[in-house]
């Protein structure tokens, strides 16, 4: 059964919360408008549709748009080889959505990393603490308003951080400008 049929099955089961399947480069993406139901949808996908393997959970910071966070789940089935991508949006005030740890155990570390890097909390996660940065690090590094050079921190006895010397750079193009002039290489400041 091609992945499009699985997407249609999810849509028929969950109705208006799931968008029409979009296709790009051979991959099907479904958008879930209510982030609170993600665990339910994933449970259905695993038990009824056979998506038993969670490949990856990623997060994107749509800085300047509302809702600010997008959490992306890549599902795969080892039985029939189908792949599916589920996206859901979370607003900045809420910054929380249910964990899918109950469905796939591998989500444990992926969600901890998203919490560490972006600051999105997962309700129901038994052990939500930082995984890549040290305990007590006050910032969320992968947010768009956090500079690449870093900000100074100091946790005596644990770690310290100083901003890296970027000397005004990096001078790279801005993603998503409508023409080459708008995309010109320029210094990336957090606000721009």
């Amino acid at each position: 059964m091609p992945p499009l049929e699985f997407a249609q099955k999810l849509k028929t089961k969950f109705g208006p919360v799931i968008s029409e399947p979009a296709e790009f480069r051979g991959e099907i993406t479904l958008h879930l408008s209510d982030a609170g139901r993600i665990a339910e949808v994933c449970e259905f996908a695993k038990n009824q549709l056979g998506f038993d393997y969670l490949v990856d959970v990623s997060s994107v910071d749509n800085y300047g748009d509302d809702p600010r966070w997008t959490v992306i789940y890549h599902l795969r089935s080892l039985k029939h080889g189908g792949e599916l991508r589920l996206k859901t949006d979370v607003s900045e005030e809420k910054s929380e959505l249910p964990t899918v740890l109950t469905v796939w155990k591998t989500a444990n570390w992926h969600e901890r990393e998203i919490y560490d890097m972006m600051g999105i909390r997962f309700s129901g996660h038994p052990d939500l603490r930082r995984i890549l940065m040290w305990e007590g690090y006050p910032y969320f590094p992968l947010r768009k308003d956090f500079p690449l050079a870093g900000k100074p921190t100091d946790l005596p006895g644990v770690a310290f951080a100083k901003p890296a010397p970027l000397e005004g750079g990096p001078f790279v193009t801005v993603a998503g400008g409508k023409d080459a002039i708008q995309r010109e290489p320029r210094v990336r400041t957090p606000e721009g």
């Binding site: 040290w134 050079a149 644990v158 770690a159 310290f160 951080a161 890296a164 010397p165």
Partner: protein, 173 residues
């Protein structure tokens, strides 16, 4: 004709006796048996392992035993990127090494932070410990690491050991 060499040996004059200075003898012992402590953090650790393997043998320089305990090592080779989270561990391990101790910063990441100019990387391990030899390269070729070891041996050969020992003895009494 007076020459300034470290050893005097002429079998016709001295017979089977070598005449040398205490400094030169002690330094000769120390430099030919530098036991490294590999602080292998990232990709440079793989080149460090290659230096220890059979093709670029480090044991011909006396450094065969890679002592993983800092208390038994002479030279700490920081091989790889030092992140801020790891920096505290590196400093603590350096403090545990007994004198005399030296540090080789191997690779671009250990020397200056390398190509990782980001929020999590310490820009050079010399921010926290004193470094004796810097090796550039990403990763440096094993021959470069051996060259660094030879430079370190030259440096050790020049140390005024006897002055230090007498100064320490004077402090104790």
């Amino acid at each position: 004709m007076r020459t300034n060499t470290e050893m005097g040996y002429d079998s016709k004059i001295e017979g089977d006796v070598i005449v040398t200075r205490v400094d030169a003898a002690l330094n000769w012992f120390r430099k030919n048996s530098v036991w490294p402590m590999p602080m292998g953090l990232a990709c440079c650790a793989i080149e460090l392992m290659a230096v220890g393997a059979s093709r670029f043998d480090i044991s011909r320089f006396g450094s065969e035993v890679m002592r993983f305990s800092p208390r038994q090592a002479d030279c700490m080779i920081v091989a790889g990127t030092v992140t801020y989270k790891m920096a505290m561990c590196v400093k603590r391990i350096y403090d545990q090494m007994p004198e005399p101790r030296w540090v080789i910063a191997m690779g671009a990441c250990a020397s200056t932070g390398g190509m990782y100019r980001s929020y999590a990387v310490l820009q050079g391990v010399d921010n926290i410990i004193p470094v004796d030899v810097y090796v550039s390269g990403c990763p440096p070729r094993p021959e470069a690491v051996l060259d660094a070891l030879m430079k370190l041996q030259d440096k050790i050969g020049q140390l005024p050991v006897l002055n230090e020992l007498t100064a320490v003895a004077a402090l104790k009494s």
